[in-house]
């Protein structure tokens, strides 16, 4: 019961999805399974919230260091949840004015909207934006050209950084001062080998880096990852990898 049934569930679910791609008759099964999956994903959201609250409640009840902040988290969580679930301050949907619960939960001016607009947005956005500062200190203190590999990486990064701003064009403005015979010419009169110094402009060089070496490197990584995913998925579908079933 504890391990066999889940194993069978995983294998059947996986194979249904697999064959639904190849056998039109099974398409419908695949759709049903996915619909359940998407509904179940909400269950995972509830579980995530539940785990969070459980953790912080524990902190509060044991009065561990910093439990006051955990209390703030809990109050904010339940406050948001309650206001959102009760659709506080939400007017009915104009199409169905006589149904008082029919409104949009995030209607402009409603309670949840207020929390979203004035708490969720500034807090999450600023939290993430702090990385701009860390990247600056890391640039000064950590990114060292200590070997060929790191040097290549940093030079490429520098070109891309300049190439993705106006500096890429501006730094090469002096090319316009040169006569065309110097900026564009054919090497030793070989017609098929045109040399164009404008291609060295950082913005064009960046595009070249992205389209040639970056595409190649990323392609190699992508193919590798794809094979890795095939291996992990197959281990689950064949029932040889059971680590998700836990120990007991």
């Amino acid at each position: 019961m504890k391990r066999t049934v889940p194993l069978i569930i995983a294998i059947i679910a996986g194979f249904v999805l697999l064959i639904a791609n190849f056998i039109p008759f099974a398409e419908g099964w695949g759709l049903t399974a996915q619909e359940w999956f998407n509904i179940l994903a909400v269950g995972a959201m509830i579980l995530g919230g539940g785990n969070l609250i459980k953790l912080h409640l524990k902190k509060v009840s044991s009065q561990r260091k910093g439990w006051g902040y955990s209390a703030v988290t809990i109050v904010c969580f339940f406050g948001t949840l309650l206001i959102g679930m009760l659709k506080w301050g939400v007017h009915p949907n104009p199409l169905y004015a006589n149904y008082s619960w029919s409104g949009y939960y995030l209607e402009s001016g409603s309670g949840l909207w207020w929390i979203y607009q004035h708490m969720v947005v500034p807090l999450t956005a600023m939290m993430f934006a702090m990385l701009a500062f860390y990247v600056a200190t890391a640039a000064f203190r950590a990114f060292r050209a200590k070997n060929i590999e790191a040097t290549l990486l940093l030079i490429t990064a520098g070109i891309v950084l300049l190439g993705r701003t106006y500096a890429g064009v501006w730094l090469f403005g002096w090319l316009d001062w040169l006569p065309e015979g110097i900026t564009h010419f054919n090497l030793a009169g070989i017609p098929w080998l045109p040399i164009d110094f404008y291609s060295l402009q950082f913005d064009r060089l960046t595009i070249w880096i992205m389209e040639v070496p970056n595409t190649a490197g990323t392609r190699a990584i992508t193919i590798g990852i794809a094979l890795g995913v095939v291996a992990t998925s197959l281990r689950i579908l064949l029932g040889v990898d059971r680590s998700y079933l836990g120990q007991d």
């Binding site: 791609n21 398409e27 759709l31 996915q34 619909e35 999956f37 998407n38 509904i39 994903a41 909400v42 995972a44 959201m45 949907n93 199409l95 169905y96 029919s102 949009y104 995030l106 979203y116 969720v120 947005v121 999450t124 956005a125 939290m127 993430f128 934006a129 701009a132 500062f133 990247v135 600056a136 200190t137 640039a139 000064f140 203190r141 950590a142 990114f143 060292r144 050209a145 200590k146 940093l154 990064a157 520098g158 950084l161 300049l162 993705r164 701003t165 106006y166 500096a167 064009v169 913005d203 595009i207 992205m210 389209e211 970056n214 595409t215 990323t218 392609r219 992508t222």
Partner: protein, 283 residues
Amino acid sequence: MLHALQNLDRRWIFLSMLIAVAIPILAKTVFPEVVSKQAKMVFDSIENLPDGSNILLSYDFDPASQGELLPMAQAFTRHCSIKGHKQYYMALWPLGSPMVDLSIDTIESEYPDMVYGEDYMKFDYKAGGEAVIRMITQDLRGMFPLDSRGVPLDQIPMTKNIKNIQDMDLIINVSAGDPGTKQWVQFAATPFGLTTISGCTGVQAPQMYPYIPEQLAGMLGAIKAAAEYEAAIDAVYPSINDNPKAQEAKRRMGPQLVAHGLMIGLIVLGNVIFFVSRKRGQA
């Protein structure tokens, strides 16, 4: 001197970054943009569709990334609206739904002729990520019984004859991570040959290049590409020039230039200190 630099309080660096970004914002510096190939490809995939084509716009990002992605999302909305394309909005991220609302606000205030349900509409957020993409490539109603205003799809003119997203002429995906562009490529663009373009964060952009042009018809990577795309729209539809909101990405390139310069300066300075001190250490 060297010692002082080695032990520099990092708050000086924080401060220099703050100033590098703040000054161009306050000075409202704007630089000219050259439209690159990628931005042109994205522009063309919307521009070359016949007017009134069906376009699915999936907003898979949240407020944390809106600094990078909102300008291009709004530019997509404006371009589609100018062209009179039918726009179907959806979100695979729980916080993506309010991002769609911002685009809907843009349509309502700047293109008042467009009618909800005939020219544009919005689907709710649905959980499940790539499983949602897979599902709607075959059955839209199974996932979305109603639109976000609670109306069944059969009663909405735009969706009445839409069975699944294979009926779309173009998929636009604005993505900040997972689920995002990679999942759209894997589960919609590649298996069904649906034309897809993407606007994504700088973190993801380099990883999307191998998909271009076969699996991804074009991609806007981070704020620079958004600025180029805005410039491309300006060039063809000069009337949009007067709208300051349509120039948001271009405005943000000012801080980018100064901050990128600062970054390179810091890396160079840091390495100089590193090498000099290593040499002295050996001597």
